[in-house]
Structure formats: structure tokens, C-alpha cells
């Protein structure tokens, strides 16, 4: 019986649910014996000159080891990693002369215990001369106030894709020539916080082996090790980094933060182990935010619903110091055409710095923004043409027989059946009956309006360019299996999934498979976990390494059986080798591994995907809107999320559930807000409205699997899909509920007040 496609229970969960997981803050290791604790002094002003830092009182507190400022840290400011980003916007490790956002570290306190560090940090007096701040990205684009005066501009990067006839730079007239209906609209894709349950955490200490041992809550252990070695000028191999259990990432834990590097620097400079775990407010103000685009969509086509042209202009808020958020518009551009066969598409983006926290990857990272813009635009176009939004979608979808399909912005999708996804969702939801119910309520003048929102999406997973991942699989002489993977899970369930793949391929029970990840000594090369890459790259690498291991085992078994390898057959059910599949008591895996030596038998694989994969789906949201109060209640969420062949539906559904919850959160509640002076207003979980189970209906997940030929598992990524499809579906549903009142748009998040104001504005406009 195959394990593939079965709901194999998560082997991780007993440990997690009974409090036996070990996060960075739980780690006790000889290298961390007597570790000092770090606290950061952070700027309360968004833009200012540091006039004076008085650390005298803090330094004299009992238990304080050191209080250091920029002058004492010999790490040069880091220019943006991506060369396409303005190199004059370097990020210091501690702010020296100027601060550029609320939460920027200006001093670091080291003390014998965490409480003393916190008290001492509160006791450091910093005098600031406030300078003009620019908080709003559209204002920042005008360069009236410069965040980095030396750069001479606030524009950090520009991206462009598509254009008329595939040429970059086609003008608007040409793009929309022949269109009978053209709609243009400014949309806000608001800034959100990732809110992983485990905030950032790092611990570092030198070992007797002369190496720096680092434990970090990161999605990318191998890359993070390299960052530390480079920043500290250490020879490659000097840093040993371990990502133990990691309590969620969602993107901002890709790579390392300046605080992480500083902690490592402190461990070297102070010659003692040092550790830091941030608090929730610190995490929400200073880890990095997602989304934060102001978009202008223009969409045009014929009255029959055929879309002929689409333009997306993006202003990406990069925050004060450009990080990966500054380059995410590239992904937005790559996916600008979405699931539709639109002849002319033009994408332009500018990333602009502001006096706010940097933006980073966040679940979907550039792709949800593309879907949100296009799916809102399609609804606006449908309204303009007076047609049903589901029907307009169906009319314009790339047909199932047209793959691989290259869009007008030059992205080539592997496989898809977009109409199949849409039809399944409409059927499962009972679209026609819901429309009839909506009409009944409108007829009756019901105060509580019903709204239906559809969104169709396609996204790119495993990076925009071809990715790769490594795996090593070992069968020990006792018959147990060790899988070493370059992926690095933080909730996804790789231990379960990779064990399933190995067990299936080797014919050894999954309970005998140990999965090792996140330790750079044991897995020196790996890409970590992000961008929905892990199964299709890392899982495939495990699959291929197991295939090689079986080949090697057949050769070894052949020696034992006195037969050529090509006549040796593995009986997966029995876990024994025989000549020609004769059965009987041929050598077992343990026999073969033992014959190979005390280390057992080992095989490695590097899987290089020829292209990324393109998961797709359709979401339908049903909302009720109280038209007197503006209160929105999400009643149903029906989704198809086709991620190719599914290894384990339980794990895949878990990813969909979490993604949908986060996407709905962006649609209705979540917003990382700043006031006009750049002070964050929602830097804790009381003011930042992350949804809980009490706010969400049971999701109705519809199954659909369209395999990809890109990897032998046929798998695409599933981690981000839920967050991509759900936001515009819910937003479209809110607008749809109010269409009869003259409302044609409500910006994100669709809070009760924003909904009420939209109703009032539409009423007053009549």
C-alpha cells in the first residue's frame, strides 16, 4: 500500500503539543554556558539626529556587562544585497548619527540576565533632534524629504515588464487602443506584520573547537551562516549554525537581521556567549513588514467581457533600509497577467524608501499583490461592462490545452486548468443559488447584504528562476534511515513528509526514518524553506537520493547474492533483496548496509529544477455586510488550491488553512499602521488585529491536482496559495455586497468604518 497521497499523521506534533519542542531560547549547550543577555535601545522617533547617548547610569547598574553604541561597533554599514537596489542606502548595525525609523537600534545593552538587560536598556538616555520624516510612500516618491540624503533620491529600485506587443514601454494610448470599456483605479495593498509565534531569537558562543556556534530562529540556516562569516570577516567554515525548532517564519526569517549579526559580533568582542530573544512589540515594530504597495490598475476590453489590455503601476514602500521588500515588485510583475490570456500587459514599479520599518518577504511575497490588483481590476472591469464577474473570468482564462503558456509579461506557466478550478469552486459554493439569495435580499431591502467574491490566481513557487536542493539519505547497519535535507521547516511538517518519501522509495517503515535539517555541520549545503519551494525541490532531492540508494543497495546485495546488480530486485513490502524478485530470505536493508561498513550505505542527490512551478486555484468568499454599521462577517470560504500532485493532503490542507486565515486577515482586519510622524500604532497583538478561530468560518477545501512535469513528484508549492487567493476574494465579496448601493471599491482592510464610509460616500454621490 502506498503512503503517497495519504493523510499520514504528523510525527512532529506530539513533541510540539506537549511542550517538548526546543526553540532557540530553550537551547542549553556547553558553548552557551554563562551566556549574557542582550537588549536593544531603539529609536522612538522616525527621523532624527542623535545628539547624545548617556549610558552612564545603565553601565553602572549591577549585572550590566556592556552598553555599546555605533562608535564602538566596528562593523561597516551594509549596502543593499541586491545590486539592482540603490547602493547609497546602506544600513548601519547601530544608528550612529541619524535614525530613520521608529525601532531602529541605537545602542545595545549586554547584561548577566534578561531582566537586567531590559532595565538597563530603559535606563539609556538618548537625546534626539527630530528631523522631518516621510511616512507615506506616495509623498516619499516626490523626493521632498530624503530618507538617505546621500542617495539624492528616495527611489531604491525600478522594475518594468511587458508593454504593448511584448515591448517594454508601450504608451497608454496604444495599450488600450480598441477598448470599449476602460477602468482605472488606485488600490492600497496595506502593510502587514507577519507575527510568527516565536519572535526572532539568536544565541552565539565560541566552542573549544575555535568555531562560533550559533543557534538562530531562521528559515535559511546555510545562507545565514554565510552572512555571519562575511559580516564578521571569518573564514568559511568558522561558523556552525543550527536552526532548532522554529516557531513560524512567513518570510521575514529568510536570512539574518542586523540584530542577529550584532549578537554574533558581541560574542566575539566580549569573549563570552551572548543570547537575544526579542519581545512581541519589538518583533512587530522591527522585524520587517510585508506587502505595502500602492497600486494603480488600468484595465480595458470589449463590452462582451473580453479583456484586451491591463496595466499595473506599483509604488512599493521599501521602508527605511531596502531589504527584500524593495525587489519583490519583480515577482509582482512576473505574475501581473495572472490566469488570463490578456494580449497586452504592462507593468511598472518603483520601490521607494520611507521613514518606516523595512519591508520584507511575507507569505506570497510580491505574488499576492499581483493577484490582489488584477482580481480587483477584473471585478471593476466586469462592473464597467455590466457582466457577472465569474463569467468575465471564465471568458478570459488561459485554456487548459494551452500549456506551457507564456504571458504578455514573458512568464511561462508549466501546467494549469484554470477553468476547472473556477468551475469546481462555483459548483461547490452553489454560485447560482447564492446569487438568487442575494437578489432576494436586495429585493426585500434587507439591512444585511450578501456578497460573493471570486478570485482566480496563479503564482510562481520555488523562486523566479530555477532552484535546487540537496539531500543525503543513509541506511544504517541497524536498518534505520537518516535523511539529511537542505530545507529547514518551521511548522510545515517536513519530518513527516520526507520520511514518507523515503519510506515509500526504500520499503522501510516511516517510523524508522529520522529527518535532519537546519544544522550546517550535518547539512552544509541547503536553500532552507521559503517561497513554497520545499517539497518540489527538497522532497524531490530526497526522492532521487533514495533512488540512488536503492541502486547502490542492489549492487551491494548482488555481491551478497552472487548476482549482477541489474538482476537484483528490492521487495518494498518485505524490505528484502532477491534475484529476479524470487522472494525468500534474501538480504535485508540492514544486511546490505552492514556489508557496506559501519557507516552504512549512503547516497546523495542535488535536484535542479529546470523551471519554477505555477500553482493555481480559485477562491470564493461569501460575506454578510451590515449596511448600517459596516460590519463584515465572513460566512463561507470555498477554495481550490491546485499544487500539483499532493504528497499528504493533511499537510497540504494545513498549509491552505493557515494561508487562508492570513489572507482573510489582510482582507478584513490586519494593518500595520503608522501615524503621520512615523510612530507605529499597531505594534502589539491588542491593536494589530490578527484573526483568531472566533472570526473565521470552517473553510471548504475542494481537491484538485494537476501535476507538473517539472519534477518527478509532480508537485508544486502550497505554502502561499491560501494567502494569495483569499484576500481579493473577500475584498471582492465585500464590494459585491454593496454594489446595489453604488459602491464599487473598498480599500484593504475592509474594516467596518471603511465599509460604512464607502456606503455613505456612494449615497451622497447620488
Amino acid at each position: 500500500m502506498t503512503l503517497l497521497g495519504r493523510r499520514v499523521l504528523r510525527t512532529e506534533d506530539q513533541r510540539f503539543l506537549t511542550g517538548r519542542a526546543s526553540y532557540v531560547d530553550d537551547v542549553r549547550a556547553p558553548e552557551l554556558e554563562g551566556a549574557a543577555h542582550v537588549a536593544f535601545v531603539r529609536s522612538p522617533v522616525a527621523s532624527g539626529r542623535i545628539l547624545d547617548i548617556d549610558a552612564g547610569a545603565a553601565r553602572s547598574m549591577p549585572g550590566v556587562v556592556a552598553v555599546l553604541t555605533a562608535a564602538e561597533v566596528d562593523l561597516p554599514p551594509e549596502p543593499p544585497v541586491d545590486e539592482r537596489v540603490h547602493q547609497g542606502m546602506a544600513r548601519p548595525y547601530l544608528a550612529g548619527r541619524l535614525v530613520r525609523f521608529v525601532g531602529e537600534p541605537v545602542a545595545v545593552v549586554v547584561a548577566g540576565d534578561r531582566a537586567t538587560a531590559a532595565d538597563a536598556a530603559a535606563g539609556v538616555a538618548v537625546a534626539y533632534e527630530p528631523l522631518p520624516a516621510v511616512v507615506d510612500v506616495e509623498q516619499a516618491a516626490g523626493d521632498g524629504v530624503l530618507v538617505h540624503a546621500g542617495a539624492g533620491t528616495n527611489t531604491a529600485a525600478r522594475f518594468e515588464a511587458g508593454g504593448g506587443d511584448g515591448e517594454v514601454g508601450g504608451d497608454a494610448e496604444e495599450l488600450f487602443a480598441g477598448c470599449e470599456v476602460v477602468v482605472r483605479r488606485r488600490l492600497v495593498n496595506q502593510r502587514v506584520a507577519a507575527c510568527p509565534l516565536e519572535p526572532r531569537s539568536v544565541a552565539a558562543g565560541w566552542g573549544d573547537d575555535g568555531r562560533l556556534h550559533v543557534w538562530s530562529s531562521t528559515q535559511t540556516p546555510q545562507a545565514s551562516r554565510a552572512v555571519i562569516e562575511t559580516a564578521l570577516g571569518l573564514p568559511a567554515g568558522t561558523v556552525h549554525l543550527v536552526a532548532p525548532d522554529v516557531g513560524g517564519g512567513f518570510g521575514p526569517k529568510i536570512g539574518l537581521h542586523r540584530e542577529d549579526v550584532l549578537v554574533c559580533w558581541l560574542a566575539r568582542t566580549l569573549r563570552r556567549p551572548v543570547r537575544w530573544t526579542e519581545g512581541r512589540t519589538e518583533n512587530m515594530a522591527a522585524m520587517g513588514h510585508g506587502r505595502a504597495q500602492v497600486q494603480t490598475v488600468t484595465i480595458g476590453g470589449r463590452r462582451d467581457g473580453t479583456i484586451l489590455a491591463y496595466r499595473l503601476d506599483v509604488l512599493q514602500d521599501a521602508g527605511a533600509y531596502p531589504r527584500d521588500g524593495a525587489i519583490l515588485p519583480e515577482l509582482t510583475g512576473a505574475m501581473a497577467a495572472g490566469v488570463y490570456d490578456i494580449p497586452r500587459v504592462h507593468f511598472r514599479a518603483r520601490s521607494v524608501v520611507t521613514n518606516t520599518m523595512s519591508t520584507t518577504s511575507y507569505r506570497g511575497a510580491g505574488r499576492p499583490e499581483a493577484t490582489a490588483a488584477l482580481e480587483r481590476a477584473v471585478d471593476l472591469f466586469a462592473a464597467g461592462a455590466g457582466l457577472d464577474p465569474a463569467e468575465v473570468r471564465r471568458r478570459n482564462l488561459v485554456p487548459a490545452g494551452a500549456f506551457p503558456h507564456t504571458t504578455a509579461v514573458g512568464t511561462t506557466y508549466d501546467t494549469g486548468d484554470y477553468a476547472g478550478a473556477l468551475d469546481r469552486v462555483l459548483d461547490a459554493a452553489g454560485y447560482g443559488e447564492l446569487r438568487a439569495e442575494q437578489a432576494r435580499r436586495r429585493q426585500a431591502g434587507d439591512v444585511v447584504a450578501l456578497g460573493l467574491g471570486v478570485s482566480c490566481y496563479v503564482e510562481v513557487t520555488a523562486g523566479l528562476r530555477a532552484g535546487q536542493e540537496t539531500a543525503t539519505v543513509i541506511v544504517r547497519p541497524d536498518g534505520g534511515v537518516v535523511v539529511l535535507t537542505g530545507t529547514s521547516p518551521h511548522g510545515q511538517g517536513h519530518a513527516t513528509a520526507w520520511a514518507t518519501i523515503a519510506a515509500e522509495r526504500l520499503g522501510i517503515g516511516p517510523e524508522r526514518v529520522e529527518v535532519v535539517s537546519g544544522d550546517t555541520d550535518r547539512v552544509p549545503v541547503g536553500g532552507g524553506t521559503s517561497g513554497s519551494r520545499s517539497l518540489q525541490l527538497g522532497g524531490t532531492a530526497v526522492h532521487e537520493a533514495c533512488g540512488r540508494l536503492v541502486d547502490a543497495a542492489r549492487a551491494r546485495a548482488g555481491e551478497l547474492l552472487g548476482a549482477p546488480a541489474d538482476q537484483v530486485v528490492l521487495d518494498g513490502a518485505a524490505g528484502r533483496f532477491s534475484v529476479g524478485g524470487a522472494g525468500g530470505d534474501g538480504p535485508t536493508w540492514a544486511d546490505v548496509a552492514g556489508a557496506a561498513g559501519p557507516d552504512g550505505l549512503q547516497a546523495e542527490a542535488v535536484f535542479r529544477a529546470p523551471t519554477p512551478t505555477y500553482p493555481f486555484g480559485a477562491h470564493l468568499a461569501v460575506v454578510e455586510v451590515d449596511t448600517e454599521t459596516g460590519q463584515v462577517t465572513l460566512r463561507r470560504m470555498v477554495t481550490v488550491d491546485d499544487a500539483g500532485r499532493v504528497l499528504n493532503p493533511l499537510l497540504a490542507e494545513g498549509q491552505r488553512h493557515g494561508g487562508i486565515a492570513q489572507g482573510v486577515g489582510q482582507a478584513l482586519w490586519e494593518e500595520m499602521a503608522y501615524d503621520g510622524d512615523g510612530v507605529p500604532l499597531t505594534a502589539d497583538l491588542a491593536s494589530y488585529a490578527m484573526p483568531t478561530a472566533g472570526d473565521l468560518p470552517a473553510f471548504e477545501l475542494v481537491a484538485m491536482e494537476t501535476p507538473t512535469p517539472v519534477n518527478p513528484l509532480g508537485a508544486k508549492g502550497i505554502g502561499e496559495s491560501g494567502a494569495i487567493g483569499s484576500t481579493p476574494a473577500v475584498q471582492n465579496a465585500v464590494v459585491d455586497a454593496l454594489a446595489h448601493l453604488g459602491v464599487d471599491h473598498v480599500d484593504l482592510p475592509c474594516t467596518p468604518e471603511r465599509v460604512w464610509r464607502a456606503i455613505v460616500t456612494a449615497r451622497d454621490a447620488v
Binding site: A115, A118, D119, G279, T281, E282, G630, A689, G694, D695
Partner: protein
């Protein structure tokens, strides 16, 4: 975040708690369920020198039927108010409001006295006891005194309790069979009310209709203009139009003042309509 340093004292009795409060004055704070105070400590928005823990004074966790009123101990937890048969029968508005506080974890730890003494203007229990005309009992060095709910809430997060007084009991006038309605708009299920309305009584009944508002100013308020209009025989729609008269709602991350005023008018109208509907016992909306 880590709270600023404080001294922790556990009070073995109400008298001891009061004595510790008297000893430390304004430097001391009472800790009961901790669901408002502990977050404030962790954010260093509050930094008392002494925490007096009264959370284990189980003698203050009770609901007693005293004839014309229910006496509820200040340490009664929200979850116990939700489940109490006596509260459900004689003060159903309080049972309902208790069920709306935070989430189950909060309700399992948070206490009635703690919620009221915290004096949050958007607290469900505060507006409920105000609408019911409850009497609050405080114990200080000089003994006990009674404070009318209408006089208890002084300012945002400031009650009429003196620095050396502890809230010990809440007396809820029995209201079995009296129509009530609780209307609330909140951002998420677990959030404070953006605006909430508690209404008690029947138009044309023997006692006048009482309407109280949460989220419409620095303290929970009585909607006096509405009550007067109803007493003068105005129809519901006209009375409700004055729901925000005399209020000073805040503009904050939850909502702007103008929207809150609008909500007050809508929710008061709905509450009054609901009072008039048969069977009119416990009609609510959130």
C-alpha cells in the same frame, strides 16, 4: 517585554490587601486575574513598585441571592458569571456581557472586580453594570462603603476607588423578566467593543428605560438624551437620534469619533427596537 522591577506581595485576606495598599499608597497595584495589568506591566505602561496579589482570595468568588439583589464577589471570574444559573436568571445582561469579554483564556482568569476597577470605557461588564444600576462595595482602612455604578467610573482607567480601597462586591438589582438588549460592534470577536449599547427596561413599563454606552467617551456613559426623550414619549427613532448627545468619543486605531457617533445612534435604535419585541428577553447582536 519584561516589566520594570516590582515587589510582589500576596495578600492572605481582604484586610491584608487593604493594609498593604495603605502602606504603599499609589506605588501599589492590586493584581487579580491579571489580564489587563500584566500586559500593561510588560509594555512598561504601568510600573508599580508593589504588586499586591489578591487572585487567591477565593472567599471573594461567589454569587449570592440576597432577595432583591445578587451579591457577586469581586474575584468571580468571567467564566463563572457566564455559567451561573442565578446570574442567568436575575441578571442575564451580565451573563451575556461576561461571555463577550476577550477569549476563553481571558474569561477563565479575568475577574468582575478587576474588569470594573480597570475602568476601561469600552468594557462590556462596565457598561452592563452601569445599565443595571448596580452598587459597588469597596473596602478601605475605615471599613466598607457603597458606590453607585454611575459614580464609579471617573475617567479612562480611573475609578472612584481611593488608593487604599479594594472593590470587594458588586450588587446587581434583580432584573428577572425585565427586557434587555446588548448591541455591540467590535473589530474581532476578542476585541474590546468599538461601541456597545446596553439597554434595560420596557417602554411604558413601571421603571424608565435605561440606556448605557461603551466606547463613547472616557468612561461608560448613560445616554441621558435618549432616556429623557423616551420618558417624554418620543418614538424610538427620534430618541435614538440623540444617542451621541453629550458624548465625547475618541478617534483611535479602532475607529474615528464620527463613526462611533453613527454607531451609537444605530445600536441604540436597534436596542430599543429589540426591547419592544416579544418575547424581548435577551435579544442581542454583535
Amino acid at each position: 517585554m519584561i516589566p520594570a522591577p516590582f515587589e510582589y506581595r500576596r495578600a492572605g485576606s481582604v484586610d491584608e490587601a487593604v493594609r498593604l495598599l495603605a502602606e504603599h499608597g499609589d506605588d501599589a497595584r492590586l493584581l487579580a486575574g491579571g489580564h489587563s495589568l500584566l500586559p500593561a506591566l510588560r509594555l512598561r505602561q504601568a510600573a508599580p513598585a508593589v504588586l499586591v496579589d489578591v487572585g487567591r482570595l477565593s472567599e471573594l468568588a461567589y454569587v449570592r441571592d440576597l432577595g432583591d439583589h445578587l451579591a457577586v464577589g469581586a474575584l468571580t471570574r468571567h467564566c463563572d458569571l457566564e455559567r451561573s444559573a442565578a446570574v442567568a436568571a436575575d441578571a442575564p445582561l451580565v451573563a451575556h456581557a461576561a461571555g463577550l469579554v476577550g477569549d476563553p483564556q481571558v474569561r477563565n482568569r479575568g475577574t468582575l472586580g478587576g474588569s470594573l476597577a480597570h475602568a476601561d470605557p469600552a468594557a462590556d461588564l462596565a457598561v452592563a453594570v452601569l445599565a443595571l444600576g448596580a452598587t459597588l462595595v469597596a473596602r478601605g482602612p475605615a471599613g466598607e462603603r457603597e458606590i453607585a455604578a454611575a459614580d464609579f467610573f471617573v475617567d479612562r482607567h480611573r475609578s472612584a476607588l481611593a488608593g487604599d480601597e479594594m472593590l470587594t462586591e458588586v450588587r446587581l438589582p434583580k432584573a428577572a423578566g425585565v427586557p434587555w438588549s446588548y448591541q455591540r460592534v467590535s473589530r474581532r470577536a476578542q476585541d474590546w467593543a468599538t461601541v456597545a449599547v446596553a439597554a434595560v427596561g420596557a417602554a411604558g413599563g413601571s421603571a424608565p428605560v435605561v440606556v448605557a454606552l461603551a466606547g463613547m467617551g472616557p468612561v461608560p456613559l448613560r445616554a441621558s438624551a435618549v432616556e429623557q426623550a423616551l420618558a417624554a414619549g418620543e418614538p424610538v427613532s427620534g430618541a435614538a437620534a440623540g444617542a451621541d448627545h453629550g458624548t465625547a468619543p475618541p478617534s483611535d486605531v479602532l475607529a474615528g469619533a464620527g463613526y462611533r457617533r453613527h454607531l451609537a445612534r444605530v445600536l441604540v435604535r436597534r436596542a430599543l427596537e429589540s426591547l419592544a419585541e416579544p418575547p424581548n428577553l435577551g435579544s442581542t447582536a454583535t
